[in-house]
């Protein structure tokens, strides 16, 4: 094994361990919680696994759920790796969804299904990218904390999405405010005989692309330099302002694309006040994977199984499905603890 390979392998092994340990501890702690609540944790986890992964309908559900989560993860990684905290995923997601739902049913009459799908996803991505421009510019050239601005823009984005759905995009038919519905046949194609739509393909390609860009290209390296040490980026002559805006826009575009895929693949229409809050769920997952794209994909997959299977298992054993949120929360908590213990371990201290 070459020096580089062994050095990389050692670091990878450590990273995997550091990601898995908190996940396992969280499963144990949630198991204890289930025992306290009077349930059999093994039975619960067994049901969760059955209904989220092993049984065919549950498996399909889980894969379908993965598509938007993966795209959001891809978007978050681009920004987080550059040390830019885009916490406005929900706003970007819903704007993408709203534009997709508002435009697709109309466009499909003139453009046909395929072109419509492509055009609508592109429009959603552009909208998502543009929505990040204000926080990006404020951060890049005025040093305004993007955590606050992206959160604020998220609230506005959610509101704007609903204004669109209740206003210009609203369908003529009565009932709850919603957009027109994209006919089933015009939605993202299904894979073979399954219920799984092509969204998962788009998502997997996106996360692979992010992985390759971050690890193999000069653009990705520039973003990582910016993320690891912004002063070094300045020192090395990187155009930090331009990089910041690019990272933000790519992030927003991918997250809005997730919204479009969710609409074009599953719902076909945007009902007012629709908000699955995927953004906040994915953030802990990408952190657990230490912003590694492939690792994030594995955590997203595991989470999709937990969510789909867990909801079903919770219904069966009459536990509140909030237990699943507790599970994810505990993972983060244990991650913080293991991280603390890991870094506290004494490293070489200079003498003198």
């Amino acid at each position: 094994m070459s020096a580089r390979a062994s050095s990389v392998a050692a670091r990878a092994a450590e990273a995997v361990a550091a990601s898995l340990v908190p996940a396992i501890l969280a499963l144990v702690a949630t198991g204890l919680l289930l025992v306290i609540l009077g349930h059999d944790p093994l039975e619960f986890y067994g049901d969760m696994l059955d209904r989220g992964l092993l049984e065919w309908p549950g498996f399909q559900e889980s894969v379908i759920r993965m598509a938007p989560l993966l795209l959001i993860a891809a978007g978050l990684i681009v920004a987080f790796r550059a040390n830019l905290w885009n916490l406005g995923a929900d706003g970007q997601f819903l704007l993408g969804a709203a534009f997709a739902a508002g435009l697709a049913p109309t466009l499909v009459d003139t453009l046909g299904a395929t072109l419509t799908l492509v055009a609508v996803m592109a429009i959603a991505a552009v909208v998502g990218a543009l929505w990040t421009v204000i926080p990006a510019v404020l951060r890049a050239w005025y040093g305004v904390n993007e955590i606050i601005t992206t959160l604020m823009m998220s609230f506005i984005g959610i509101a704007v999405a609903n204004v669109l759905v209740k206003g210009p995009f609203r369908t003529d038919t009565g009932g709850v405010a919603r957009t027109d519905t994209l006919p089933l046949d015009d939605r993202l194609p299904l894979l073979g005989d399954t219920q799984i739509n092509a969204g998962i393909i788009i998502a997997v390609l996106a996360i692979l692309a992010v992985h390759l860009v971050m690890t193999r290209t000069s653009v990705g390296l520039r973003l990582r330099v910016l993320g690891e040490n912004p002063r070094a980026a300045q020192h090395a002559g990187l155009h930090t302002g331009r990089l910041t805006v690019c990272a933000f826009m790519a992030s927003g575009a991918l997250i809005a694309l997730a919204g479009a895929v969710e609409i074009l693949g599953i719902w076909g229409s945007f009902r007012a006040d629709f908000n699955p809050s995927f953004g906040l769920i994915v953030i802990p997952l990408v952190f657990l994977a230490r912003l590694h794209a492939i690792g994030s994909a594995l955590f997203v997959a595991a989470f999709a199984v937990i969510q789909i299977g867990g909801e079903s298992a919770a219904r069966k054993s009459e536990v509140s499905s909030d237990i699943l949120l507790a599970l994810v929360g505990l993972m983060l908590l244990f991650m913080a603890v293991t991280e603390y213990l890991r870094t506290r371990r004494p490293t070489a201290v200079g003498a003198g």
Binding site: A3, R4, S7, V8, R216, T217, S218, V219, L221, R222, R224, V225, E228, N229, R231, A232, Q234, H235, A236, G237, L238, H239, P346, T347, A348, V349, G350, A351, G352
Partner: protein, 542 residues
């Protein structure tokens, strides 16, 4: 506190000054016995014995990494020794916290000043009190300030904000702060590192006064001449061990040259001739080789003005010319605009007005990368803060300023094999000690990081290189390597600008020395005999 002994010098005076003294001289206040402290991979202190006597300056001499700072951290209660004991007035004591050290009468002045710049002198002094209730007793504090000012023989306004004080004065405030709680032992860690020659004379003067008051002083230094000039007793540390010491009767009455020879023998034994140049002797002894006639101007800075950030002095009307094959020095106390100037030259920031020319070309609007292409390099003083990305490996850091450039990248795709080959070459050429080029930079020592940064900046035939404090914090061998590298570059026709706070270093290296004070170049001195004094005068000029 212990009762005052009958033989205290001028007991009434001493008590009026609030210095609790027991006896006059030769009274051992602090004794370290067999102090050992190790960190993973390093034994920082190995069975060190040290006696600190009242009325004496005990100079602790050693190069960076010799274990001096660890030893004083133990005295100051920052670290606890693994083994050994500390006797205060003959009684074994545990110094388990900085507070305990203060209560035992040990006051420490650290190398980096710890005052709050926005507060007044008096407020800063009172910060250290803490335990005396919520109300600030300003009246008592003023009295205490007057006492200490009298002891040190200094005078300045206790209500002045610290930000407005000169560095020498700030250090005096630090010393007052260390003595505030009636310390009997004063520990000074590299107290001269930020001082002008005039400040240095003043420091010597008031250390004499404090000695006269019966204080015990521990002086940490890596400069031989300081140990000789100020120490009554000298202990020499090397690689964590005390390799020798000179008792007061061995120091008194001997000439500086005799002492120097003796200490160098203690430090290096028989290897003296080879490594003598590695010790910072008193400075400009080694005559520089005369360089051939001046080359053409390759970089000029004209009338540069820069407002700077709020905590910076900025630049006011700075002009400078660098000739090919010459080493130009920038002397000055830290924080007088040197970093701003370096960054303006490097292209990391734009001046508000004025120009930077590379040869004949106006480079003022060019970025870092474009200037690099034209042969300009900047070796930053902040190696970990901006010079490298600590989490990246050695290989990636070696191409940090060439991201996306051939042959390391083609069409945006990384050519890892080429980067590795290149990094291995740099590591070999500059003797960077690292397990391999895949080790993260964070795991390297400061000296090796500096070598890596040098290797990176000096690759691809530079024409002009700006060095910002290139030997700061390095062990003497690496420092020597860096200085040799700079001299070699100049002999190859490169124009070098060396920013340093160490006048000795500039005298050894430079052909001309420009002096900066408060964002202004106060003068340029040709490096000829007497230059040191002239530079010192210019450092305090307005």
């Amino acid at each position: 506190m212990a009762a005052r002994g009958p033989t205290a010098p001028e007991p009434a005076f001493a008590s009026r000054l609030g210095l609790d003294l027991q006896q006059s001289t030769n009274h051992c206040l602090v004794a370290l016995r067999g102090i050992t402290k190790s960190f993973p991979g390093v034994v920082a202190n190995d069975r060190i014995d040290l006696d600190v006597h009242a009325g004496e300056v005990h100079a602790l001499l050693g190069e960076n990494g010799a274990g001096k700072s660890t030893l004083i951290s133990i005295l100051a209660g920052m670290y606890r020794p693994d083994e050994g004991e500390i006797l205060i007035e003959g009684r074994a004591q545990e110094i388990d916290s900085p507070r305990a050290a203060i209560e035992l009468g040990i006051g420490t002045v650290y190398q980096h000043l710890t005052l709050v710049p926005t507060l007044s002198v008096l407020e800063n002094l009172m910060l250290g009190i803490g335990s005396q209730g919520a109300r600030l007793d300003l009246g008592a504090a003023r009295d205490r300030f007057d006492e200490l000012a009298k002891v040190l023989g200094v005078s300045f306004d206790p209500d002045a904000t610290v930000a407005g004080l000169a560095l020498g004065q700030r250090q005096q405030v630090e010393i007052m702060k260390a003595l505030w709680r009636r310390s009997r032992v004063l520990v000074l860690d590299e107290p001269t590192s930020m001082l002008t020659p005039q400040d240095y004379d003043e420091l010597r003067h008031y250390l004499e006064r404090l000695k006269g008051q019966g204080l015990a002083i521990v002086l940490i230094t890596h400069k031989l001449h300081e140990a000789i000039e100020m120490g009554d007793r000298v202990s020499i540390l090397r690689s964590g061990r005390k390799v020798g010491s000179l008792e007061p009767d061995a120091v008194a009455g001997r000439s500086a040259d005799e002492l120097r020879g003796q200490i160098v023998r203690i430090m290096f034994g028989d290897e003296t001739p080879e490594v003598e140049s590695a010790v910072e002797l008193s400075g400009a002894e080694a005559p520089r080789e005369a360089r051939p006639a001046r080359g053409p101007v390759v970089l000029s800075v004209t009338d540069v003005e820069l407002a700077g950030d709020p905590q910076e002095v900025g630049l006011r009307g700075v002009s400078l010319e660098l000739h090919a094959g010459e080493v130009t020095g920038i002397a000055g106390v830290d924080g007088n605009g040197q970093r701003e100037l370096a960054e303006v030259i490097a292209g990391q920031r734009r001046p508000d007005s004025g120009n930077v020319f590379l040869g004949d070309e106006d480079a003022t609007r060019l970025g870092v990368a474009e200037r690099q292409q034209r042969g300009l390099r900047y070796v930053t003083d902040d190696r970990l803060g901006e010079g490298t990305v600590a989490g990246f490996d050695v290989a990636m850091n070696s191409v940090l300023k060439r991201i996306g450039e051939a042959p390391f990248w083609s069409h945006g795709r990384v050519n890892r094999a080429e980067i590795d080959r290149y990094a291995n070459q740099l590591v070999e050429d500059y003797d960077v000690r690292t397990p391999d080029v895949y080790a993260r930079v964070a795991t390297l020592s400061g000296g090796n990081i500096q070598k890596l940064v040098l290797a990176r900046e000096l690759a691809f035939s530079p024409k002009v290189v700006v060095f910002n404090k290139p030997t700061h914090g390095l062990d003497v061998r690496t420092a020597e390597f860096v200085r040799d590298t700079i001299t070699r570059l100049a002999s190859e026709g490169v124009a070098a600008l060396v920013i340093s706070t160490e006048i000795d270093e500039l005298i050894t290296l430079c052909d001309r020395i420009a002096v900066m004070s408060r964002g202004v170049v106060t003068g340029v001195v040709d490096n000829a005999p007497g230059a040191e004094e002239r530079v010192g005068e210019l450092m305090v000029a307005r």
